[in-house]
Symmetry: C2
Amino acid sequence: MAKYKNNCIKDITNILKALGDENRVRIVMALVDKGQLCVCQIIELLGLAPSTVSKHLYILRQANLIESNKKGRWVYYNLAGGGANKSVRKVLHWLQESLAKDAGIREDKKLLGKILKEDPERLCLKMKKR
Amino acid sequence: MAKYKNNCIKDITNILKALGDENRVRIVMALVDKGQLCVCQIIELLGLAPSTVSKHLYILRQANLIESNKKGRWVYYNLAGGGANKSVRKVLHWLQESLAKDAGIREDKKLLGKILKEDPERLCLKMKKR
DNA sequence: TGTATAGTTCGTTATATGGCGAAGTATAAA
DNA sequence: TTTATACTTCGCCATATAACGAACTATACA
């Protein structure tokens, strides 16, 4: 399973680089809020091209901050769970605490509420039109 | 004094970007270890050009992670102290915890021990030769 | 089958970043 | 007041990164 070697500076800076981007932080905070989101919902939230969002998700995954699971045509992402190492869990907690009152993140939460109410089929079609 | 407004995502990503570089993390960890260092000692530790180190220090200072105070010709840097906001203090603590056992950081500590024993005058002359 | 859809990967472009040396600034020493 | 020293700022270059659209992959549905 997970390899429990010591954190090295490379891993740590990788985590920090992954989180050093506003859009990726928004993704992480959306997952903190909703637990799990499919890619098209994240695309809708950020208003970026699918390929761009996919790359952001890849970077977060490389840093072990998030995980994905595929269900049919949809891919769902969630925060790294119990398997995540201590540093990852702690930095996610730090982010959460630091941005709890952030105005932009609050707006994202509201927007996410609307997005989750929408029909997923229609949502993905909307994405297609970009 | 310090303005106590809410953290915004901009500030937070700024902190994360500042720490998303190995050399800057090494600087921070050196300051964790020794409390205070002058620029020429940091230059010696990293083995980079003075101008490069100066820029790294500037970036860390912009993110409110470190502070400087000038004494004569020498400029000393230390970690942001009591004036630092909660997020900064916490992320510094996280870094410290995450890298406590890192091999490279341990090497830096040893090297720093030697650097601090050296005559500061001679150290800065050595720097000049680069 | 074949066609549509949800994501990903690839190639390109514009901008950001890390590195350096040269020039500039401020303090100390001669 | 001149010279040296300890940094910093500036201008440059090479590489990294974020964004996009086009092409590709995998699954579902007709």
